[in-house]
Symmetry: C2
Subunit: 323 residues, 2 copies
């Protein structure tokens, strides 16, 4: 009887733990891979145990932690800024990528890519100090709405991925953002929305200089944190090879391979595959934003975890929880 | 009687705390300034309270956390590397700063400054991956001895400053190194010796590229983290203005002024003034290494804390504790 009671308590215990971990993830291979990995590397008795100081996890942002369609959200911010400042810059009417922005030519803007986006951000904020810029982004995030979802952009974060970040942090992982997005733009919302502090946000940067107690932004690109530059950014900013990497596009492949090449630890690589045309968007090999082609082939061959959003996630966005 | 007992217990309690905080610091203004600052900003009832997430403290390394005479310790490492690799580089015999190194011309090497040092480090490690480099530094630190102190370089860290770092961390400050030293060199010993993880070490960097799962070092300078570039490095790496800054030279002045210009928080600036010719070294305005001239004037006018090593510190190095 005592034995039976103990057995019952134990099974309830296990059941309770299982239901609290990653609650917005459906049972299945993706969820199991994550949980099995975390349990293995945090168990001192396990051969794959990793000391807390080495539990470095890196996450891409656009398309991995929030949506990125029909264009990177930072682009919508930049478009609004270009329009607001256009009267001071008559030359923008005839110079790309500004011309496309002012003509609402979305295709032209998207064609200019991450580099065009950074040019726009650079040009619209030259001469401004970092703290003033942050205020402008925060104000925009409070008022702007996504063109088709008609919600604030920060509503469009992925609930299952937020749970994953919390789960890793609860298991003493140090979580970093390693994104092609502009660093100032990300710093304006990620600490509050994801709970990740500014010193763990790595992104693309513009040139700046120091003067009279302030950091002033210049209209020049310093570093584009994409593809092969993601491992370089990890080297400069973290100085330690990650053990877990999370992305959604070919731009994240090098970062994930750099993680996979860690010979000192068991590693985890996870791709978010956008397969849900109804609740989010469905795109991969042929998308101009968040293209996942070479990465998808590589991930399959190397048995990485590929999250099928439609199948693996109970909800996409946090606001769906309240329904 | 009960009241008396309580009073006794309380006073023992206070006495115990006071004697445990910064034990290698003599009573005096420097120690009091630090303790009063930390108490004020960590007390929720105090108008100067700072939330833990904003408790960012930045420390210079050379001359602030360990000695830097008769030359930056990294220079001794670089000299040993140049000599070890000289047979593969006949051109070094006629090219500065390598010529001076091979001729043991210390004056010539010191003249080449931090830039020369980085050239040497760059040239001796081009084509090497970061992890192999780290192993070489670790091996060197185990075996090399300081030319006049005849001790391993990592013995020459400042005990009172180690206590200060521990004290700040115990009070939920996030401590960062912001140094002109090479980032790979620092990462090879600071995590173990100071207990500060690699992602909180900011330094000068060389160019690198990513290839086949590895970060490969190039013989080019990327960023020299000195003077006005220290606030720039803080912007790129931390993304938040510090509230406390610790240095020892004019190279740290901009970083300390950037901290002082924080309008959101009470701040602390502290200069380590090398005044102890007997136990360490005495130098300031006229030194070619760790020159403290403009900074000393500025610090006096702005009532920053100026540590008089001779007067304020009971011991300089940890090994003195064992005497």
């Amino acid at each position: 009887m005592k034995q039976l009671l103990l057995g019952l308590l134990l099974s309830f215990g296990i059941f309770a733990t299982a239901s609290e971990t990653l609650p917005s993830w459906n049972e299945g291979e993706s969820r199991a891979n994550i949980i099995n990995y975390v349990r293995a590397v945090t168990d001192k008795q396990n051969a794959d145990y990793i000391a807390p100081k080495d539990r470095i996890a890196v996450f891409d942002n656009d398309g991995t932690l929030w949506s990125e369609q029909p264009a990177y959200f930072q682009l919508f911010f930049a478009i609004d800024r270009v329009k607001a400042l256009a009267s001071e810059h008559p030359e923008w009417k005839t110079t790309e990528p500004f011309k496309s922005v002012l003509e609402n030519n979305m295709e032209g803007i998207v064609k200019s890519g991450k580099k065009g986006l950074l040019q726009i951000v650079g040009a619209t904020h030259a001469g401004m100090d970092e703290e003033s810029f942050e205020k402008i982004v925060k104000q925009w995030l409070k008022t702007a709405k996504h063109p088709t979802k008609h919600r604030p952009y920060t509503d469009l974060i992925f609930q299952p991925m937020m749970e994953l970040i919390d789960y890793l942090e609860a298991n003493d992982f140090k979580v970093f953002i390693v994104s092609g997005g502009g660093i100032d733009f990300m710093r304006a919302f990620i600490p509050e929305v994801y709970g990740i502090p500014s010193e763990r946000i790595i992104g693309s940067t513009g040139k700046v200089y120091y003067e009279n107690g302030k950091i002033i932004k210049e209209p020049k690109i310093d570093f584009i944190d994409d593809k092969e530059m993601k491992p370089v950014a990890i080297y400069y900013n973290i100085g330690k090879r990650p053990v877990a990497a999370f992305g959604n596009s070919d731009g994240d492949l090098a970062m994930m391979q750099y993680t996979e090449a860690n010979t000192n630890a068991k590693t985890l690589q996870l791709y978010v595959h956008h397969t849900d045309a109804k609740r989010e968007w469905a795109y991969d090999r042929k998308s101009s934003i968040g293209k996942l082609d070479k990465g998808l082939d590589y991930a399959k061959i190397h048995h990485w975890t590929i999250v099928d959003m439609k199948k693996d996630w109970k909800v996409i966005y946090p606001f769906e929880l309240k329904k």
